[in-house]
């Protein structure tokens, strides 16, 4: 999820003391130094009736998200695994979600080599301290298991991985 910040700082006109007054706007645009893009959309495999998973051994593909940072030590990468389907047929039972995010590829061995070791796991959210400039690819896996070993109804299923760039 991109977060572009646009600063609009209108100067508020204070109570006019004189007889006439004018408001002059000052506009500015800030380009984000952290760009997120989906490098590879994930796919669910269906190894059995009650499981959907991105595991390649079960016919799935993890999602790959790329962060491009041009300002060092200014952002956190925060990635949340799916906890629900954004679209699906009507489900017969509760779904249990598991998943993980890991660093797949980096562009700076020295500056980014410890991203994975130093990541902060907050429940379903993993937070990385982006201390170096360059590109980092994160891989997110996800598994959904239908409760009661019931079968997933036929249809299309979509789940979202949320990726954010949070300024420090």
């Amino acid at each position: 999820m991109f977060k572009h910040t646009i600063l609009s700082l209108p100067i508020l006109a204070l109570t006019a003391i004189a007889a006439a007054s004018e408001n002059a706007p000052i506009n500015g645009t800030v380009q984000s130094r952290c760009i997120i893009q989906t490098d590879q959309a994930g796919t669910f495999g269906n190894p059995n009736a009650y499981t959907l998973t991105t595991s390649p051994t079960d016919g799935g593909d993890p999602a790959v998200i790329r962060y491009d940072v041009t300002l060092a030590d200014a952002y956190y990468a925060q990635i949340s695994i799916p906890t629900s389907f954004s679209s699906s047929p009507t489900l017969p039972d509760q779904v249990t979600w598991t998943g993980d995010t890991t660093v797949k590829t980096i562009s700076d061995a020295t500056g980014m080599g410890s991203y994975e070791t130093n990541k902060l796991e907050l429940g379903d959210v993993d937070r990385y301290d982006l201390t170096a400039t360059g590109s980092t690819w994160f891989e997110t896996t996800s598994t959904a298991v239908m409760g009661g070993s019931k079968a997933f109804p036929g249809g299309n299923y979509t789940a979202m991985v949320t990726a954010e760039c949070i300024a420090k």
């Binding site: 700076d108 080599g113 690819w137």
Partner: protein
């Protein structure tokens, strides 16, 4: 600013423009070494302007490993390109690195063999290295007439440095001129005699020259035949040489003068022949 904007600079005519590209993966085996001749395409005006590589590091989390991606410098010692990735303790096994390293555009002739070297307790796998480049078709201006610096092909010419020959300065010029003056005043009869003599002299000179040519040809043919014969024959002894000793050789038979009688046998034989002849002749009248 306007002048700079309109400055033509180094421009190409229509159709002759540089183009860009990138090579395939230079790493073809586990040796992690490659020759640039096998990687780069043909054009000579190729400048490499970037290296794109990726690999997966294999190491223990607590180890420190350096990975060098480099190309040797053909024009000198050391490297024309060298990028070091320092994997510090804390970086995890199986992490992949992917980098694009821009370089100053340098012609292909400077780029030597490439390699990936690992220093420390670790290794790399799934390595890929490719090169981005720019090709200038007009690197050789003769590539096209539209290239800057193109020169039309010219036929080789040779300048002759000589002074004009002045025949009037020749040592024999005065004598020849006198002779010519004499010839102008000669009579018709003298002129005819002189021309006949000159014509005769010319024929003699020609005959001598042809004779010399014939002699030369005969000699050359004889020599060639001799050489051909000697090259095919080991040793031919055509004649046997005998020594004749000197001295006087006297006659051994001596006929003494004496009276030789007529042969009676011969006479009888002659008469018998005569009789037979007469009989034969007379028989035709009988």
């Amino acid at each position: 600013m306007v002048v700079l904007a309109l400055w033509p600079g180094y421009c190409y005519s229509d159709g002759i423009v540089p183009y860009y590209g990138s090579t395939g993966n230079a790493v073809t085996d586990q040796s992690l070494r490659w020759s640039m001749d096998n990687v780069l395409p043909e054009p000579p005006g190729l400048d490499i302007n970037g290296v794109i590589y990726s690999y997966t590091i294999r190491k223990q989390t607590g180890d420190s490993v350096d990975v060098n991606v480099s190309n040797e410098n053909v024009a000198g010692t050391g490297y024309i390109f060298r990028e070091t990735d320092s994997w510090l303790p804390g970086s995890l096994d199986g992490t992949q690195i992917s980098k694009i390293v821009p370089t100053l555009p340098l012609n292909r002739e400077f780029w030597g063999d490439g390699s990936i070297d690992v220093e420390g307790p670790g290794s790399v796998e799934d390595a890929s290295v490719s090169y981005s480049y720019k090709v200038d078709p007009c690197y050789n201006p003769q590539f096209s007439a539209a290239c800057p610096g193109y020169e039309p092909p010219a036929v080789d010419t040779y300048s002759l440095n000589y002074e004009p020959y002045d025949a009037t300065q020749h040592a024999d010029y005065d004598e020849a001129e006198d002779r010519y003056s004499d010839e102008e005043g000669e009579s018709e009869e003298d002129r005819s005699d002189r021309e006949s003599e000159e014509d005769r002299d010319r024929r003699e000179r020609l005959e001598k020259a042809l004779a010399a040519v014939d002699n030369s040809m005969l000699f050359a043919n004889a020599l060639a035949a001799s050489q051909a014969l000697s090259s095919t024959t080991l040793s031919l002894q055509t004649y046997e040489n005998k020594t004749i000793f000197g001295g006087i050789y006297t006659d051994n038979i001596v006929l003494k003068d004496s009276q030789l009688p007529d042969s009676g046998l011969g006479a009888r034989n002659g008469l018998a022949q005569q009789l037979l002849h007469k009989q034969m002749v007379n028989s035709q009248y009988d």
